[in-house]
Symmetry: C2
Subunit: 679 residues, 2 copies
């Protein structure tokens, strides 16, 4: 008796014998090989493309002859003419097994393919979306055997896709009949599962084979900005990214002022809820337009946000979050619909997943950072700092993770800074001050050159120099300190003390002039004493939060630091450390994770299992409340000074020159006198 | 060793031994005795009232001493002073077992108590509501162990009520925090289960112990009228009943004209959906006002309706129901929320259950009739006819049930009748015509006397005689026939033929004058030839539907007939049979079920298991489509005549005198000549 042909799939290595004539897709399904298909093997969706390999495969013990698969058939011919198949590719539902064969499933034909982020850290996301599409052919109604169209669709899904039962979003009920008739009883449906075990829910439908893709939005809803990534739910590709200001800013710059607004104004919470939902709705329309897709294709949205934004998004009065014991209305994750949130530009049936909150001050954004950076899987002790209007701080390793948040205020984002602005073309994002001449040079967003390089002024003529963004102000304060223009208490010296007219009197204190374009009708960009104080408050809060976690964990140093946040990628680790934003670690142990909360949102968007994972992780995190901890206040006060490098951090010394100055005493350190130390 | 005391519960007979000091409620729970409690044994809700019995109980082998239960305690004392306890009653959570005891659980302390309808047929409804309330005491938030308020509520329900987990309606999330704080962490919650196995869903909450009850609406959504029963979900008592006209009448009197309106007018379906939802909303407010309760206490609504109303209620274009194959968008039952249906006067979280449809022409109203009248449990062959604008007809016994619907039009409800009106005070509801004098006497709604009885005119002076309602027109046509004023084809004779001036010429035909109040400025109430034709069409449709089911079942007679429908209770079986509305059966085999669809809605409202039961029954019913069946047309045409009694129905002969007349031929039967036959 001749054995059936052997079929080996790569890269999985799964193998089995199948009778001659078995379609490759059928073989793959029986072996549990991850081979995609939307049309269920009808040769119209092309998702099941595979590549047969020929020749000797000693590893698999197989020789593959040229006629190992059936001949190219008419369906493949037609598909190739119409859409084009890559050379060597076959349609898995058409090609049948004839002899022993090795079949490669290319990444784009895998449902659970891995998507590598373009950003610096190579975080891999495995595709396992909650929403998938299925093509089915539905029986026509028969008045002698009356059943509803929905029930016949369910029967077709059972027969053709082995999906035992479905439920339907209410808003779909009215759409189903015209769609079925328009597609002549052929239909593509999108089914959403809230968990691996959940009954799939019908959330969208299109006549015939739907080829325009389905999309999801990962939204990082911050106090100041709302950032969104539009993601193809099939490929995992980010097709557009966009952000807008949070319009709630008009009710209060920081979270606590918004909570106060809700407390002082009856209906104020509803007003803020309406504002933020409208902004999200606008953002969805804009980002869809940018990507050239219809907003109706956005079938899922994942939100990460701090607890106050969480409550305001959901229409819950945040008043309890403004006072001890900071009780959340609900801390668990939520699965909702776009209709629940009045997001009118999305389909009413579009699904919304909101990550769980960790505590009353530590929100779903921190949970998202934990999902992205995985401190709980770290071998060494890592401090993850997500810098925003509120800083989310995680400290941990595989034994235990702690979390807190710290009210840094919006200074790090350029708000409440005299020449501050959001990160946009024309904003100063980096600055260096020469320790000898005290003259500044800088770089602005939209131009790669420094201001002292040739061509800078020509290239920035269009935008002008408009202000300083978050990373710029951090560098400016640190550079003022290293250039000896700022004493350890944070006081800017006068021209007499510093020897430069760039330090000029303004009221009872001094400011430092970075750039003056008033002659050409432009702005005058300075760092004022008030700016320094705002940054000192912000960085003290951040540092105190980190220290509180270290105390709780019983350590006085960490192995590495990850800077995250919307502008975390742009912060210079050296300047952050000079400023005292973060605990001292070797410079090469400070990395940037970019917008980790946004990445966490993207992971939750693309991977259903990740939702269950973060829900589990959140329950296990040790929550530390900064607001009522006396130690936090103590650390906060102690962190006010802008430190200098010590011998404990020789590496830092190699890079920065840290003059010891003090202006506010008449004593020996005053009067522009400098002491230098080098490591 | 002394045995623990024996506790015997009646009426269940459940028994067990419990240590001295065990609260009666605890013993009941451990034995699975159906004893209600909302407060969980805290002595505040009084739902667990029981009555100890004293003396000898040979049946149970027990002697109960006067000190079998603990002494009356302070909690009971306080409750009795405040609210009053019936003599002999104790609170089951306070009284503890001391010696052998027999304890009676009165009906009102049982969760699953039985409620007997007040109406003629004693249909018993067992209470097993989908929504129940629970009182719990929730832990206060602790910022060192941060959890959401909802999660702490869930934990309390787990600990205090053994409810492993809950989900929450989204609209509740924003209400929870103020309610918990107002009740000082004591709260009553309403939990809804969509099936016995489903995870309970939080749908309402009140601070402290909620004592105002919870309510449900059973709504019979008809083409012409919308009828609602407001029911206490705890006791099953109907606290108010009310009805309003279906405002969709302005878009078309019958179903097909509404479907046409939707087809001819873009957005017409949405317009009709809005109209009917607004009317339901208004009705809910009115009925709550009538009962003196807040609409916010209405937590469940059950709908029964025909398929077109079903689709229009749900916001589904009914166009497919207007043409073969009459495909429903969905036929299964639905569980929704008030928010889904824009019923703004109810809580957004209020649950809505819509009964399943049987087929494209046989709706959830027919399913409700099947639930109420249970033809599938009948030993003999029963025909159930629900008379309305569309008649729902069921035929069956325990072996098999068949169903169809028949388009009778609104004539039976007094619409499209020259002097027709809805059933309201002043409407003629019964009429008798003297076979000798041809003079009428009648009764109007709001007065028990006949018009020839003393005091009639004084008692009806306030309302006047305003028109004829459905039951009145049926009797009028039948009486005209039995008085010899109408020939078998339905033609009214002239004065010369009939010998009475009450038959007067009007256009080319004759009308019969019932009452003329024009002298006093009142109406002139007549039966016109057009009225006769309208009733003939309606009754032919009804009869043809019944015959078609009988053909399909292979029988030519039925054992009994049940007349249901909003005005089914008011139809005289004798007149219905003279008219030929229903197949001939002995008169004592015709019973009235009142509003069976409404009763079915009430059963589904009060009993969760009944929902699963009707869903099962509906799947097993044989659906017969009248619209495309040639036999239906044949029966319809044959049923046009108004028959006379034959010797096959001697019983009928005993009651009615049936003159044989014919006016429309110039031959020997014409000219007012009469032949009489008596059985």
């Amino acid at each position: 008796m001749t054995k059936d042909p052997l079929v080996v799939f790569t890269p999985s290595g799964k193998r089995g014998r199948f009778p001659v004539g078995t379609p490759v897709l059928t073989a793959a399904r029986q072996l549990g090989v991850d081979l995609d298909s939307v049309c269920g093997g009808r040769g119209i969706c092309s998702k099941c493309q595979i590549t047969p390999s020929y020749g000797d495969f000693p590893k698999h013990g197989v020789h593959v002859a040229q006629d190992a698969l059936s001949e190219w058939n008419k369906v493949e011919e037609r598909y190739d003419q119409k859409r084009g198949l890559k050379p060597g590719r076959r349609l898995g539902c058409q090609a049948t097994v004839q002899r022993d064969v090795v079949i490669d499933v290319p990444a784009e034909s895998q449902v659970h393919r891995q998507v590598v982020r373009k950003a610096a850290t190579a975080r891999v996301i495995e595709m396992d979306p909650a929403t998938r599409i299925f093509y089915v052919e539905v029986e026509e109604p028969d008045m002698h055997e009356p059943t509803g169209d929905l029930e016949r669709l369910a029967r077709a899904l059972r027969a053709q896709w082995d999906i035992p039962e479905i439920t339907a979003e209410f808003s779909l009920l009215g759409q189903l009949q015209p769609i079925l008739r328009k597609g002549d009883w052929k239909i593509t449906v999108a089914l959403h599962k809230s968990s691996a075990e959940a009954t799939p829910r019908l959330i969208a439908a299109w006549p015939g084979l739907h080829e325009a893709g389905i999309y999801g939005l990962a939204i990082d809803l911050g106090s100041t900005t709302i950032a969104a990534h539009l993601t193809n739910l099939d490929t995992g590709e980010v097709v557009a990214s966009s952000g807008i200001m949070n319009p709630q800013i008009r009710f209060g710059e920081d979270l606590m002022s918004r909570v106060s607004y809700a407390m002082m104004n009856p209906g104020g919470d509803a007003e803020m809820t309406r504002a933020v939902r409208e902004a999200i709705d606008t953002l969805a329309v804009e980002i869809a337009k940018e990507a050239g897709i219809a907003p109706s294709l956005i079938l899922e949205t994942v939100f990460v946000c701090n607890p106050v934004m969480h409550h305001l998004l959901l229409g819950i009065d945040p008043v309890e979050l403004g006072q001890a014991p900071f009780a959340l209305a609900t801390s668990n994750s939520l699965t909702l619909t776009a209709r629940d949130l009045d997001l009118a530009s999305l389909p009413a049936s579009a699904q919304v997943y909101v990550l769980p909150c960790i505590a009353g001050h530590v929100g779903a954004d921190a949970a998202a950072v934990a999902l992205s950076e995985e401190p709980g899987k770290s071998e060494d002790l890592v401090l993850v700092v997500d810098v925003g209007t509120n800083a989310e701080i995680l400290l941990g390793d595989k034994t235990r993770v702690l979390a807190c948040s710290s009210p840094t205020g919006p200074a790090f984002e350029g708000a409440q800074i005299s020449s501050g602005q959001r990160a946009a073309p024309g904003a100063i994002e980096a600055i260096r001050i020469d320790p000898e001449t005290k003259e500044p040079r800088f770089r602005v967003i939209g131009c790669d050159k420094w201001s002292n390089e040739e061509g800078f002024w020509e290239e920035t003529a269009a935008t002008g120099i408009t202000g300083i963004c978050g990373s710029g102000i951090i560098e400016a304060v640190a550079e003022l300190r290293t250039a000896g223009l700022l004493d350890p208490s944070g006081l800017i010296g006068g021209p007499a003390q510093t020897g430069t007219d760039r330090c000029f009197p303004e009221g009872r204190t001094h400011s430092y002039l970075i750039h003056d374009a008033t002659a050409e009708g432009g702005p005058r960009i300075t760092v004022t004493q008030g700016d320094i104080r705002a940054i000192q408050l912000a960085k003290s809060a951040l540092y105190a939060g980190a220290r509180l976690l270290m105390d709780t964990r019983g350590v006085d140093k960490v192995d590495r630091v990850v800077l995250a946040g919307a502008f975390g990628a742009h912060i210079s680790p050296r300047h952050a450390m000079v400023l005292g934003m973060i605990p001292d670690v070797p410079l090469d142990k400070v990395t940037s994770a970019g917008n980790a909360a946004g990445t966490g949102a993207r992971i939750a968007l693309c991977n259903l299992a990740a939702r269950r994972e973060i829900e589990r992780v959140v329950r296990e995190i040790t929550k530390v409340e900064t607001a009522i901890e006396p130690k936090f206040q103590e650390h906060f006060v102690n962190a006010n000074a802008i430190p200098h490098a010590t011998d404990a951090f020789p590496e830092l010394h190699k890079i920065v020159t840290l003059p010891q100055v003090s202006f506010n005493t008449g004593g020996e350190d005053g009067g522009g006198r400098r002491r230098r130390r080098r490591g």
